[in-house]
Symmetry: C2
Subunit: 454 residues, 2 copies
């Protein structure tokens, strides 16, 4: 069955678009490969959700309800519109009202301002595609969600960053950056401020309440000849384990003019339906829909009907409660394990996430968590994490910190967490040189002084 | 609940990306509005599928099977990979082998060469995005599927066209065009030849068997410094009512180097799962996956599991047979109605599609089927069609023919078809000036002499 002669014909190379040439391989590929090569690894890297809490039986009932009804079943099997199923958009907006604790019209929103997408990732993509040209500036926290900063780079964006602290993105630093860009005449290039406002991937940090209206005020104040939009990524919002239910940045934007709020049913219900909902200003919506029309003229109707019936029947609300209980326990196990096993030193710290999936560990600067260094040791010891470097944009001297770790407790089973952290702690201890005394020497040796001078 | 003060604050305009500025509104919006404004219209415009033949009960059984099984259910509710569900890719390739009548390795294909997308539309988008920069040339038939030519324009492509005849895209004209572009030094700009090879939207025409290897040979011959790829759109392939089951252009590409074959489960099974599968060369796949990773890191798993179970259980094959029988009848009713009601004149002709959803009617050049002209009369008479002009690229003098009609029998009920054609025929007769005698005068009056001089 082989046709050997034909394979001897060489073909000239592809000629790729400039966008394709700007698009880098997602760094997570090697993590997936490592996990698949060794299933006994405790996988604290994957951003997947917990398989044990997926709403399988609930979705069986939901599809039974939809598909036993000829009218609804036909609608679920047919095309819907690019904007998305009208009833789902209404329910999504009602749901948003209850999350925000204010009526839709106080936020300038109607169901026509909600688009249903193939996960909130698609919404982020579409907004970037609609607004960003090569050389345009997007402001983001450092670190940020690496899939989207990679996407922004593929659009040719210059991603300029501000640091984070325990209260999330440093909004004063955003003001300083905008002021500096204004002074440099670069304000016309600023398109978007990207902010994951709840339990950020990768740090687990949440934007403090008082920073929310302040960020909006900055977007308004620096919008002169054109609008600077805030792209608020709320993917983990409903997975809240502690702390107050904060209103979104969007909720302060009473005219629906300056913010895009990207939300999803994937994380709080099930990724398998890959259905997100995003609220945005009407003039942006008009443009985003032209793009989405060309992408797919609307996401899968079946998934949208499942999301709608989940909301209508109460299965969605019940699932969110179940996930919060389940993930809260795993968060607590992970936190206790860190406290139990990790070296007790001032220069080994971690975040305390109130929700979402992620812990962010900061090690002394001389410790290199990357591949070819500590990451490989961790794999040898049977534990997988995401090296923090992938979550950073380089600073102006090109420096990227390599002393961080992202841990995810989304997918891992509760009884695996303690074992995983025990292994990780052993690897970290080994890297610390069995004591603080060696740290300065290693620091110089690893060249991490770059940061101190930058 | 109104906050009147805030709405008085004007916001500066959005600054759109160059891509957004190149993206035009899809012309079908007004058709959807017209159909919604008057549900009594016979809608021969919509490209939807027949609601009565959707596999609602079959899909109920399929979801029951998947979601009653905890392991499969969890997989269907979780993330899958960007490439798509491995078992579905295997089944899609097996299915392709049976459609082509040859083994996968004779086409240089493995399951890793198949990507699952959110409908085949997304595959077309991704391939365009990966290959086309502003100013690049894409060769297409005139007329072509307008959603994709619009997409290509949004990438900044220069869509250069060749005519069609009863055997589909004029491949000799492709050769002449490539030869001319070569002489003009423009060959390095040619990226893609786009061809809907089965029952084309909008004409219903199929690329003749002998033209298939010939088109491939042209792509190879004119690929000098870079590869010119054939993007073969086979969305309607399985909806075959008459005529032979032709092998794809792809099937002649034994090395899997020059062709992309975009296929879908939407048309032959159900649009509601919005699941397509596309075979492409490995080096292109690598690049397309980087883009898709940024779009959505994989289409909805639930839909993919439904498609897989439909193939495994035989429900897919049974549904294709049912659709072929059902649509064949509607095609025959439409054809008989055209023969019965339409004016019998040499200058009023229509295609005889062997599959798919579309008839293409050609009227005398003086008849203008556009909005503001015959289209409005048709709406008054209670029938909706797509004015042919939207399916054309302008020729080098900027001329676009306005004397064509696209009819779709996808969605319309069988008993509506005859009524719709009777109404349409009455409108056409009115436009013909109640006799051939008036035609020349009207021709000049309508300014359609533009074509004769171009």
């Amino acid at each position: 069955m082989q046709y050997p002669a034909s394979s001897s014909t060489p073909a000239p190379p592809l000629s790729l678009s400039s966008k394709a040439r700007r698009t880098k391989e997602q760094p997570i590929s090697f993590l997936i490969n490592a996990a698949m090569a060794n299933p006994s690894l405790v996988n604290l890297a994957a951003g997947l959700v917990d398989p044990l809490t997926l709403p399988v039986e609930e979705t069986r009932k939901i599809t039974e309800t939809i598909l036993s009804d000829t009218v609804r079943g036909r609608a679920a099997m047919q095309y819907d519109t690019t904007l998305g199923l009208a009833e789902l958009r209404k329910h999504a907006l009602k749901h948003l009202e209850s999350l925000e604790g204010q009526p839709a019209n106080a936020m300038g929103l109607t169901p026509a301002d909600i688009v249903i997408t193939t996960g909130s990732q698609q919404a982020l993509y579409l907004v970037g595609e609609t607004l960003v040209d090569p050389g345009d500036i997007v402001i983001a926290a450092n670190p940020s969600y690496f899939v989207f900063t990679g996407t922004l780079s593929s659009f040719g964006a210059q991603v300029m960053t501000v640091p984070m602290d325990e209260h999330g993105m440093d909004v004063d630093a955003v003001e300083r950056l905008l002021t500096r860009l204004d002074a440099e005449g670069k304000l016309p290039k600023v398109r978007v401020i990207y902010c994951t406002s709840y339990y950020q991937n990768p740090t687990g940090l949440t934007l403090a309440l008082d920073r929310r209206p302040k960020l909006l005020e900055l977007a308004k104040r620096f919008s002169r000849t054109h609008r600077i939009l805030i792209l608020e990524d709320a993917a983990y919002r409903e997975l809240r384990y502690d702390g107050p239910a904060l209103p979104s940045i969007k909720s302060f934007d009473s005219d629906n003019k300056y913010t895009v709020l990207a939300s999803t049913f994937s994380k709080p219900f099930a990724p398998g339906i890959k259905t997100g909902y995003t609220a945005m200003p009407p003039d942006l919506m008009h443009e985003v829909l032209q793009q989405k029309g060309n992408h797919d003229f609307g996401s899968a109707a079946l998934s949208q009907h499942v999301a709608l019936e989940a909301m209508r029947s109460g299965a969605y609300a019940a699932q969110v409660e179940r996930l919060r209980d389940s993930y809260r326990k795993k968060r607590d196990i992970l936190l206790a394990a860190l406290e139990k096993y990790m070296p007790k030193r001032d220069d080994v710290t971690w975040t305390h996430p109130d929700g979402g999936f992620y812990f962010w560990i900061t090690l002394p600067e001389h410790v290199n968590t990357s591949r070819g260094a500590m990451f490989d040791k961790a794999v040898e010891h049977g534990v997988l994490y995401v090296p923090g470097e992938y979550c950073f944009q380089p600073d102006e001297s090109g420096f990227i910190p390599t002393n961080h770790i992202r841990l995810s407790f989304g997918q891992v089973a509760p009884d695996q967490i303690e074992r995983g952290i025990e292994r990780l702690a052993a690897v970290v201890s080994g890297q610390l040189g069995r004591g603080t005394g060696e740290a300065p020497a290693r620091k110089a040796q690893h060249g991490r002084v770059a940061r101190a001078t930058s």
